[in-house]
Amino acid sequence: MRVKLLYHTDLEALRRVFAKEGVPFDPEVVMDHVVYMFEIEDCSRVTTHQLVRHRAVSYDQESQRFSAATKEGVITPPSILSNESAYKAYDEALKVIYSSYERMVAAGVPKEDARYILPSAIMTKLVMTLNARSLMHMVWQRTALQAQWEIRELAMTLHNLARDATPELWTRIIER
C-alpha cells in the first residue's frame, strides 16, 4: 500500500485571518476548514468498501469498467499467506476467477460486466479529499483494535501524514 498527501490547507493563511479579526486561533474551530487530499494506491477493495462508508469525504477511484484486472494485482491477508493449505485454496480460487474473467472478456463481454466475478482482494487506487474533522473521526474509528488490519494500517498512515503536515492541529487536539 502506498499513501501520499497531495495537498493540505495552509494553517498560516488561517492564522492570519484569525489575527486580522482579533480572534484567538483555535485548532478545534479550524478543523472544518483544514482540508487534506490523499492518493492511496494498492490497497484492496475490501478496505475501500470500508473506507467509503465514511461520509462527507470526496473519493475518486480507479474504475473496473475501464481497466482490465490481472491476477498479480491482489492483496493476500497475512493469515492466509502464513497458512499453507489456506494459501493453496486462495490461490486456486484466484486462478479460476481470473481465468474465467479473461475468457469472458475474450468472448466479448464488456469489462463492466466481466468484473462481477472479480474478488474483493483486488488492488485499487483512489484519491480522497476530506477535512480534519472527518479525518480525525476516520482515524479514531479505524485505528481501533477491533478494526481490520489493512484499514488500520491505512488509518495509521493517514494519521501520520496529517500529523506531520499540520502537527499543531493534531497534537493539540489529541492532548485534550
Binding site: R2, K4, L6, Y7, T9, D10, A13, L14, R16, V17, F18, K20, E21, G22, V23, V29, V30, D32, H33, V35, M37, E39, E41, A56, S58, Y59, D60, Q61, E62, S63, F66, S67, A68, K125, L126, V127, T129, N131
Partner: protein, 147 residues
C-alpha cells in the same frame, strides 16, 4: 457583504484533472501527473469541460477553498447552511465568517437561485485573483458580476 479568498488548493484545474484521470486510468498517480504536465492546460480544460458536460461534478470536490466573508447577516449564512449542507461555516466575530467549500458546492450554489448571489461574489473573487481561469470560464461562462 465582502468575500476574500483566504486559501485555495494549488493548481485547481490540474487537481480536478488528476481526480478525473484516476477514475479511468490504471496508472499510478505519479504517472498520471506526468501525463497531465506533458499534455498541459489545454488537456486539463478538455477534461474539465467533459466533467461539466457529463455532470460528473464529483471530480470538482478536490478543488477546495476557504473564504473570509465580512458583513454577512446570521440569517443569510443560516439559510446557505440549510440549503447547501456541504458548506462549512464558522463565525469569527459579529458578522464576519470563515466559510469553506469545494468547487462542486460553488457550482451548485451558482446554479441555484438561493445561492446565486453568494456564488457570484465568490466567483468574482476567484476571477479577480486569477485562481482558476479555466474553471471560471467553463463553470461560469464569463458571466461573473464584479462585486
Amino acid at each position: 457583504m465582502k468575500v476574500s479568498l483566504v486559501w485555495s488548493s494549488p493548481s485547481p484545474e490540474r487537481t480536478i484533472a488528476v481526480a478525473m484521470r484516476r477514475c479511468f486510468s490504471t496508472k499510478a498517480i505519479g504517472d498520471i501527473e506526468s501525463e497531465l504536465d506533458q499534455k498541459g492546460p489545454e488537456y486539463w480544460k478538455y477534461l474539465l469541460s467533459k466533467a461539466l458536460q457529463d455532470k460528473s461534478l464529483d471530480v470538482l470536490e478536490h478543488f477546495t477553498m476557504t473564504l473570509l466573508v465580512e458583513g454577512a447577516a446570521e440569517s443569510d449564512v443560516g439559510n446557505l447552511n440549510r440549503d447547501f449542507p456541504y458548506l462549512r461555516t464558522t463565525r469569527l466575530k459579529g458578522a464576519d465568517w470563515l466559510i469553506s467549500m469545494n468547487a462542486r458546492t460553488l457550482v451548485e450554489l451558482w446554479r441555484d437561485l438561493r445561492g446565486k448571489d453568494f456564488a457570484n461574489r465568490v466567483a468574482a473573487e476567484l476571477e479577480g485573483r486569477n485562481v482558476c481561469p479555466i474553471f471560471s470560464e467553463l463553470a461560469f461562462g464569463g458571466r461573473v458580476r464584479a462585486s
